[in-house]
Subunit: 222 residues, 2 copies
């Protein structure tokens, strides 16, 4: 295909088009991480190969080892980016909302935080293979395990704070950290079941189940 293109270019008589473009390192790295992420969610760890990724990114094979220690190093970056996209940004958003909305009813903040887990942005089936692969990597790689622990802990803490705020405002005694942890487990479990068999539930049913678990302890939120 490359040959065809360059032949056409030569026959055009004009200056031949550049065979490649130089990109700022940061931008090139981001491009490659995105392409690698697509490969991982498409074919799992078996689809995460130098050939596939370079083809997806439209670059030559040598670039992966130029920008990353190794293919495994790229996988770690894919983990970081995915984790940020799905968890860290979640936390930041919750923090921002709470800081901005001081004085607002805590029920609103909590309901929004709960509901956001079932928004199509998070609760979708496109990334099953991606996360199965990343979890396997977490189980194997101690560095990733530590990062995972830290991020999930932060998210659990955020959720627990919002739960505790509602419970306090309503004079209820609630084990907020435990409830937050169980809620997250339920969300992950529902998402997993949905991905493996989409006939067993709908995102709406999942959201209902999630609210039900919290509301059973702190009372109605909607």
């Amino acid at each position: 295909m490359t040959d065809t293109l360059s032949n056409i270019d030569k026959k055009r008589g004009g200056k031949k088009a550049p065979r490649f473009s130089r990109e700022p390192p940061q931008q090139r790295r981001a491009m490659m991480i995105e392409a690698a992420t697509r490969c991982l969610s498409r074919g799992g760890i078996s689809g995460f190969t130098v050939d596939a990724i370079c083809r997806e990114a439209g670059i030559s094979r040598g670039l992966i080892n130029h920008y990353f220690d190794s293919l495994d190093g790229l996988l770690v970056e894919v983990y970081r980016a995915s984790m940020y996209k799905n968890v860290a940004s979640h936390i930041q958003e919750a923090k921002r909302r709470r800081a901005e909305n001081i004085g607002w009813p805590p029920e609103l903040a909590l309901a929004e935080l709960i509901g956001s887990n079932f928004a199509p942005r998070y609760f979708n089936g496109d990334n099953l293979l991606l996360w199965l692969s990343l979890w396997a990597e977490i189980a194997t790689n101690p560095l990733l395990k530590a990062a995972h622990r830290e991020l999930y802990q932060a998210y659990r803490g955020e959720l627990a704070e919002d739960i505790a705020a509602v419970a306090a405002a309503r004079g209820r005694i609630v084990d907020a950290p435990t409830l937050a942890r169980n809620f997250i487990a339920l969300v992950d479990g529902l998402w997993l079941e949905w991905c493996l068999d989409e006939t067993v539930l709908t995102p709406e049913a999942a959201e209902a189940a999630g609210f039900e678990m919290i509301e059973a302890q702190v009372g109605p939120l909607r």
Copy 2:
């Protein structure tokens, strides 16, 4: 190592030990499936190679393609065996218990079925890589997806029946199928969280969360 052994045998002066033993096909297949399962749970799909499996099983490389269509065919058999071990046998046991214990308090049957999910036999961290790999295979292979759907549906049905029996005996209105589905999701989610970060909960805490979810709707079971 093989050389050393056979040399020793020769020097012993007696008849040399057989270089291999012939096994009945059914038994040999079972041995290979077990070895392959160990490889998968140890190293994930990357550890599922002809070399590793044959080394684990103590056989030569040619035998996999002799007994299975391909390495992927062996993976399907690993799936079947694991699924049977973790789900199908679960269902059979529940069925048997219910058939044998006609007239027994349904609370006992339900409590036992719930608790069995958190028994070390099921709720243990050794099989994370195994199940992550199998789930990835389910997502990819339509035949496995259908098998998965069927087996999980049977298990959900079993659980829902036991829940409905308790609810009926107590005059409570409960959406048993939905509750069963949410419970299974919670169990899977808790197990996954525990595997990825064992500091976040204990099997006892998981069991408590599981009972809590059911008991919130049908009343105390213990």
